[in-house]
């Protein structure tokens, strides 16, 4: 695991996290956040920790995994900090530096989404849910009534029609991943 100081440098320099030094800790982000009640720290407190260098605490928090990308915080921030983008950055850092929070189910949700994209270039709701169900079956069982309802209305698309130039698409994505790792 990287030390706090290097993680902070990475967050500030590679991911433009440096703008959080402008934060006045007003909490309008946390107050606008639809899922703040679930978070270990609200975004406000997360930034307070990050700028003082407690990056390991930050990256092992569940906060960013509860971000639903509604941008409610970003448009209200009196210091114009692009909070949602920082949440993305912290998620990416947590994954890359292996600090991802085991308490959150979201990494699995994202994986269930990106797997069919990698394979077919597209998703369907059903393809994502099926994959996710494999890891968290209870969440799906709780929604059996919905599944039944959708099936009845012919809205469960089990099959994904892959994109036509799948071969080319895969080459593009392989290249992108290659550049990502550099």
């Amino acid at each position: 695991m990287m030390d706090n100081e290097s993680l902070k440098t990475l967050f500030f320099e590679t991911y433009h996290g440096e703008e959080i030094v402008n934060c006045i800790q007003c909490g309008s982000c946390t107050a606008s956040c639809p899922l703040a009640s679930m978070m270990d720290y609200g975004p406000r407190q997360l930034f307070a920790l990050a700028r003082e260098g407690f990056m390991q605490d930050v990256l092992s928090a569940n906060t960013m995994w509860f971000c639903v990308s509604c941008y409610g915080c970003t448009v209200k921030c009196p210091r114009d900090i692009s909070i949602t983008d920082h949440m993305y950055a912290l998620k990416k850092m947590a994954i890359k530096h292996d600090l991802k929070n085991p308490k959150s189910k979201m990494p699995m949700m994202y994986k269930s989404f990106s797997d069919p994209v990698k394979k077919f270039g597209k998703i369907t709701d059903t393809s994502v849910i099926f994959r996710y169900a494999f890891f968290h079956p209870i969440d799906i069982m709780k929604n059996s009534r919905l599944a039944f309802n959708l099936a009845k209305k012919n809205r469960l698309e089990i099959l994904i029609h892959p994109i036509k130039n799948l071969k080319g698409f895969k080459k593009v994505m392989t290249k992108a991943l290659e550049l990502e790792k550099k």
Binding site: C26, G27, S28, D80
Partner: protein
């Protein structure tokens, strides 16, 4: 009487450690000693101090110096000081040159060696230049002892009264139909809770009655010409359609006026007024005014109810706007502020929820002459059980005004006290930081804590009518993070007060252009110097007071007003004034009358003489900016003290290393 052989004294200032911390002063002095025409070179800790100036004076006398160079701060700071010292020593004040080795050198250069080298270069330039200076004589002009005050709020009224009491004539121009400004709308004032009306109404009356004050309400400045001591102001007196000499202010006209549903500006849209009206009962003057836009007669050509009932025969539908010129020597700008309009912050629901008020509206709600006669009730007449006060609305916010408006914390706490006192309701103050720097202010904060006000540190993200508990239906939910308790709070309340910040009054750009001062990026007036010239502007003779310079509370405003009045009095009491000799001269033999100089002169100092087909400079108006000289295609114009010779020698000196 240019001296044949220059004998130059060079003085290098340490400025404490401001200069000597970077520049090796002794090395510069030693270097200067060897420069051409330099008779002596010395260093001193503070050249601007009395002993520093004495050094120059005694050297001139003892060593027979005839030119002086001081290497120190910016000329903006102390050029006048050293010119005066040079003059006191018996030399022409323009036989002096300043080398700026602080702002241009020690403050901005990292490396001490480079800083020292640069200081030498600058001193060399100044020495080369001063040898070629020409003696100039400052012009002396008469000062008109009258003063124009723009804005009739507490700042303008106070300044006008102080000047008038000193026996000088004041023209007080106010845009609205009455003087009094924002303060006359307030109820109590923090932190002493004395009633705003009780302390301001006597001022209104005093202004209205003062024999030295010529009050022009419902009037606007439309032009200002001239220069310090000799301005001509053009003022438009808008037609009131009521003859002020006849109107008794009885009010029968308003009673009979059929247009009754016009939103009151004075009550900030909380009540209605008639088309012929006076903003509030204690208005000065109490002459009514007809609002042409809403008057039935002006709109449809029929009605004249006011005229019919006016026993004094004061209504005059044929009145016209009047343009008048007044001669003055000095101007005080006291145009105040307007409150921030929170409509764009849709998350707070102003305009959408009827129980969301701006702070200035809430002042009116609290005021005995306001819409509820001072009682705090909801619009449907209920006594509130809980009230939220939201700080920093539109302030400290990059999306709106980035500055702190300075007064909102304190007036918000005043509201909390009034709500508690009048209704017993729970009061929630949502703040980011409490700012209470003033005499008795922190104590007031403490008092409010003891009164049981809930202080919640968090910026409100939303005011909504969505309630989580059905029994709260009809209330507004205020959502904020309680950042100290680390909890998101959703608090149902009956009323919400938005503590809106202050903004410069409408039309400041126009006044700035007319009068000749600059505005900062937020639109407030730039003072001459943030520490040492807070009441003056870059234009001589133009002073500022109150919120036009930036948000401030009543005590600070009044203090500034009295300060500005003092500055104006000090100026006009001099009767005569010496003006910089650094003006443009046009050589009529070279001028072709092309008028390009006239085009670029922002001070209106150049005019064309058709008889001779040449342009001429009005020295009284010229500020010596040099625009004309650099524009003239035939090199017919020189600026005294900045002629080509002087500038070339200075450059020669700097570059000749």
């Amino acid at each position: 009487m240019k001296e044949s052989i220059p004998k130059i004294g060079v003085y290098v200032c340490h400025c404490g450690s401001n200069i000597s911390g970077k520049v090796n002063v002794s090395e510069v002095v030693e270097y200067a000693t060897g420069l051409p025409n330099v008779e002596s070179a010395q260093e001193y800790k503070f050249m601007c101090s009395d002993p520093g100036q004495q050094l120059i004076i005694s050297d001139v006398k003892e060593k027979g110096l005839n030119r002086v160079v001081v290497a120190s701060c910016s000329p903006r700071m102390h050029e006048k000081t050293f010119r005066l010292a040079t003059q006191t020593a018996g030399l022409n004040p323009y036989y002096f040159q300043m080398a700026c080795i602080r702002e241009h050198d020690s403050w901005v250069t990292e490396n001490p060696e480079k800083a020292t080298l640069k200081a030498k270069d600058l001193v060399r330039g100044a020495v080369a230049r001063v040898a070629h200076h020409e003696p100039l004589t400052p012009r002396v002009v008469d000062i008109n002892p009258n003063v124009l005050v723009i804005g009739g709020g507490i700042a303008g009224m106070q300044a006008a009264l102080d000047i008038a009491d000193a026996g000088k004539k004041v023209f007080l121009v106010e845009r609205e139909p009455t003087i009094g400004g924002n303060m006359s709308k307030f109820d109590k004032t923090f932190p002493t809770l004395d009633c705003a009306a009780c302390i301001s109404t006597p001022k209104l009356v005093a202004v209205g009655q003062h024999k030295n004050i010529e009050l022009m309400t419902y009037s606007e400045l439309i032009d200002l010409k001239g220069f310090v001591g000799n301005f001509t102001a053009t003022i438009k007196k808008k037609a009131r359609y009521v003859d002020a000499s006849k109107c008794t202010g009885c009010g029968i006209c308003s009673e009979k006026c059929p247009s009754k549903k016009i939103l009151s500006e004075f009550d900030h849209q909380l009540t209605y007024r008639t088309a012929i009206y006076t903003p509030f009962p204690q208005a000065v003057p109490n002459t009514r005014v007809i609002d042409k836009e809403h008057c039935l007669y002006f709109k449809k050509g029929k009605c004249k109810a006011c005229e019919k009932f006016c026993e004094a025969d004061a209504i005059d539908f044929n009145q016209k706007d009047e343009i008048i010129d007044v001669e003055i020597g000095s101007v005080i700008i006291a145009t105040g502020f307007k409150t921030f309009d929170p409509t764009p912050l849709t998350q707070y629901g102003f305009g959408r929820f009827k129980e969301v008020y701006t702070s200035i509206q809430f002042e009116r709600v609290n005021n005995a002459t306001g819409p509820t006669s001072g009682e705090i009730t909801t619009k449907d007449g209920r006594k509130p059980e809980s009230v939220a006060i939201i700080h920093c609305v539109g302030s400290r916010d990059q999306n709106h005004n980035k500055y702190c408006s300075r007064v909102c914390c304190m007036y918000s706490m005043k509201f909390a006290h009034l709500v508690k006192e009048k209704t017993g309701a729970e009061v929630y103050e949502f703040y980011i930081d409490i700012r209470s720097p003033g005499k008795g202010y922190e104590e007031f904060y403490n008092r409010l804590q003891e009164e049981g006000t809930h202080f919640i540190r968090g910026k409100v993200s939303e005011v909504t009518d969505i309630v989580d508990d059905p029994s709260d239906q009809g209330k507004l939910t205020v959502v904020a993070e309680d950042t100290l308790a680390r909890k998101v709070r959703r608090i149902p309340v009956d009323m919400v007060v938005l503590s809106v910040g202050l903004e410069p009054s409408e039309g400041m750009q126009d006044i700035a252009r007319m009068v000749g001062f600059s505005l900062d990026s937020d639109g407030w007036i730039n003072e001459l110097h943030p520490k040492l010239g807070p009441l003056a502007t870059a234009s001589d003779g133009i002073f500022i007071a109150g919120c036009c310079q930036g948000p401030k509370d009543i005590p600070d405003t009044v203090a500034q007003a009295q300060g500005a009045a003092g500055s104006a009095l000090s100026l006009i009491s001099r009767e005569k004034l010496a003006i910089e000799a650094t003006v443009s001269v046009i050589n009529p033999n070279r001028c072709m009358g092309c008028l390009q100089c006239e085009n670029v002169c922002v001070y209106g100092a150049i005019s064309y003489n058709p008889a001779l087909n040449v342009c001429e400079v009005n020295e009284a108006l010229c500020k010596g900016c040099g625009n004309c000289a650099s524009t003239c295609p035939n090199k017919a114009i020189t600026v005294k003290h900045f002629n080509n010779d002087e500038i070339m020698w200075e450059m020669e000196g700097i570059l000749s290393n």
